[in-house]
């Protein structure tokens, strides 16, 4: 709101007081409305993640609005490209919009960390659907999200052990080679995966955007490893798995949620991606939603198979909506509702947040594989 508008509003309200005119009755008759913000990458190389998540937020909201509620909810969509520097520029604007009483997101950990100062200053409650970095809810971390940050996704502290477990499942005498991409996400996940590996054949860090993976492949082969765990993102994982297969490596390739994207089999090619073991702090929406919900989802979004983090985004949105249904229209009220409330997830699970924002008992980690170029859900890892 600019200064001029503020001033004219002040004049109007002063006039209302002087002349004893009351606009209150007409204001209460009109339905109240509040806004929820949604922050994720909608363009850029990780746009797919945000676009998938946005369908879930839209869907949850359409279900809510169909019930003709007393408080209307609007969605304010913010595109941070998954980048910390973009998020840092974007967050103050969202924080200053007082109509926004809650934010679904941010989707990425780095972007979340960069957005936190503005949101903390504005006391805007956040529920992230996919920011998995441990420090965000670690009370000892120098920068954590306390008290505004909550998440409905398992953090890497849970994903790391699950990844280590799933990667070697059914492998006789597994010997693991661990590779990370030097990013905050990749290095973090690798650090939580490493202690859970029984026999580590070796490890390497290959910076993001490397083209040539020859020397890592040579090292994997020299180490005699039969399981390779990659902690990084899909574009690089595609190049790496291709180089591994072309180099004659026939063992297991496993990776975390950064790789669980349709672009991974697309860029790696079906042959190289086949059988890759992937984990994500996510369960597919079509496995937990009712058939009627799936029909409605497809009708609204035009998407038959929901992408990643649709379930968690749907849950995050519904948690906000459950509080709004109770008549909450302020940030402080929302903060209180999230901290003390108990919510139902789409799978029928009970969601309550601990003091630092994680789900009590931990969110589930799903196990996936690639079959003929398609991501297939296997169960809980």
């Amino acid at each position: 709101m600019n200064k001029k508008v503020q001033r004219s509003l002040a004049v109007v309200s002063a006039a209302a007081l002087v002349f004893g005119v009351s606009a209150v009755s007409s204001a209460t008759a009109a339905p109240k409305s509040v806004s929820l913000a949604f922050q994720a990458p909608l363009t850029g190389s990780n746009a797919l993640t945000g676009q998938d998540e946005l369908t879930a937020a839209r869907f949850a909201l359409s279900e809510y609005n169909a019930t003709n509620p007393a408080i209307k909810v609007e969605l304010v969509i913010a595109d941070d490209q998954g980048l910390a520097d973009v998020a840092a520029l974007l967050a103050p604007g969202i924080a200053s919009n007082k109509k926004i009483i809650g934010l679904i997101g941010p989707a990425f950990s780095g972007a979340t960390q960069a957005s936190l100062p503005a949101y903390k200053a504005g006391r805007l409650p956040l529920i992230s659907m996919s920011a998995t970095r441990v420090s965000l809810t670690d009370r000892r971390a120098p920068v954590n999200g306390f008290p505004i940050f909550k998440r409905v996704v398992a953090n890497d502290k849970f994903q790391g052990p699950a990844l280590a477990r799933y990667a070697v499942k059914g492998v006789a005498s597994p010997s693991v080679y661990l590779v990370d991409d030097k990013t905050a996400y990749g290095k973090g996940l690798a650090d939580y995966t490493k202690p859970n590996i029984a026999k580590l054949a070796g490890s390497d860090s290959v910076p993001e955007n490397t083209s040539d993976y020859t020397s890592v492949v040579a090292k994997v082969k020299a180490s005699g490893a039969n399981v390779v765990i990659y902690c990084g993102y899909a574009p690089d994982a595609a190049k790496f798995v291709k180089a591994l297969r072309d180099g004659g490596y026939t063992g297991i390739f496993a990776a975390g949620d950064g790789v669980l994207k349709a672009t991974f089999p697309n860029n790696a090619g079906n042959a190289a991606a086949e059988g890759a073991r992937l984990t994500a702090a996510d369960v597919p929406f079509e496995d937990v939603a009712t058939p009627a919900q799936m029909v409605a989802y497809t009708k609204l979004t035009g998407i038959k198979v929901p992408g990643s983090y649709v379930t968690s985004t749907y849950n995050a949105t519904n948690i906000f909506l459950a509080c709004i249904k109770q008549g909450i229209v302020t940030r402080a009220g929302m903060q209180n509702c999230l901290t003390n409330g108990s919510f139902k997830g789409v799978a029928g699970d009970t969601i309550r947040f601990d003091r630092y924002g994680d789900i009590i008992g931990g969110a589930a980690v799903g196990a996936f594989t690639i079959k003929a170029g398609k991501i297939t859900y296997l169960g809980v890892a």
Partner: protein, 316 residues
């Protein structure tokens, strides 16, 4: 520490040479322009990136290969590969000539200082990268496999793979052709004349503008060929790959002695090998550190690069 290097020495060496040849071809784009204009062609990295898309479009959109289709064989294979090579060279050469017209020619005619040209080259480089970002939605683009990466034979425990062999042989042929063109053809002599002394060359009746355009064209052809080999080996491209590859190739050019074609050759090969050896011995996170320490050391003792001394005599 060295067991990986010893165990996998020959695979690493062959991969390093293939990568080195890609660097050689890109660094020709830098070194030729530098030789003639005494200016760094900052847009060369994006010329390379556009060149990679020439191959992707040929494979994917002209010959309709997909991620699931079988690799080509026999005559079809030769046809697709040669078309893709020519397409990449064409796209890159066209981009290079465009860069020369837009970023260099007019400023040169106006006699502006070198900084203006430098900035206009950087500007057009950013514009080219951002345009490709918009065209591809910032997403990585995978190229379907056309050349089957079969293992031809095993030498001292190293797999000799078809794609690396093709890259090494074809890139060497292209390099030799270019080198001969510069040494023997009339135009090549004109290019060398301009690079040695612009004013004298002009007095001898050399058409300066034509020489400069041809220099960009030839540099673009080499860089485009590099784009083709890059896709053949790595099957992947993105709007921002020009930066890392361009920086590496520029390093190779400086390492060998910028402005010197043979320097680019040896600089590129040394860099390719150095990168894979350093990654194997110290870990990939040390690759960039090692490469640039070596570069600084070389420049400390040989400020003109490994072959820079010969520039005045055999600059080509």
């Amino acid at each position: 520490m060295f067991e990986v290097l010893i165990d996998q020495f020959w695979s690493l060496t062959i991969a390093g040479i293939a990568l080195g040849f890609i660097y050689v071809l890109i660094s020709l784009g830098y070194t030729m322009v530098y030789g003639v204009l005494r200016m760094i062609n900052f847009a060369n990295s994006e010329i390379f990136m556009w060149g990679t898309f020439g191959t992707v479009i040929t494979n994917r959109d002209i010959f309709h290969y997909t991620q699931t289709s079988e690799p080509a064989k026999g005559w079809k294979l030769a046809l697709v590969l040669i078309s893709a090579l020519l397409m990449s060279m064409f796209v890159a050469a066209l981009t290079a000539v465009f860069v020369e017209f837009v970023a260099y020619r007019r400023l040169r005619m106006k006699g502006t200082n070198r900084l203006a040209t430098l900035i206009s080259a950087i500007g057009i480089s950013i514009a080219l990268a951002e345009l490709m970002r918009l065209l591809t939605d910032s997403r990585p683009v995978g190229s379907p496999r056309v050349l089957e990466k079969m293992i031809l034979t095993e030498v001292w425990g190293a797999n000799i793979r078809l794609d690396t062999v093709v890259t090494i042989i074809a890139a060497a042929i292209i390099y030799i052709l270019l080198e001969r063109f510069i040494q023997l053809s009339r135009m090549g002599k004109a290019i060398r004349a301009v690079s040695q002394n612009e004013d004298s060359a002009k007095l001898m009746g050399v058409n300066l503008n034509r020489v400069i355009t041809v220099t960009f064209l030839v540099g673009g052809l080499a860089t485009g060929a590099a784009g083709f080999f890059y896709i053949t080996v790595f099957e992947y491209t993105k709007f921002n790959i020009g930066f890392t590859m361009g920086l590496a190739a520029f390093t190779a050019a400086v390492l060998g002695g910028i402005g010197n074609i043979r320097g680019a050759f040896l600089g590129g090969l040394s860099l390719g090998l150095l990168e894979v050896y350093a990654s194997a011995v110290l870990g990939t996170q040390w690759k960039a550190v090692t490469v640039f320490i070596v570069l600084v050391l070389v420049l400390l003792f040989k400020p003109n690069g490994l072959f820079g001394e010969a520039v005045q005599q055999t600059r080509a």
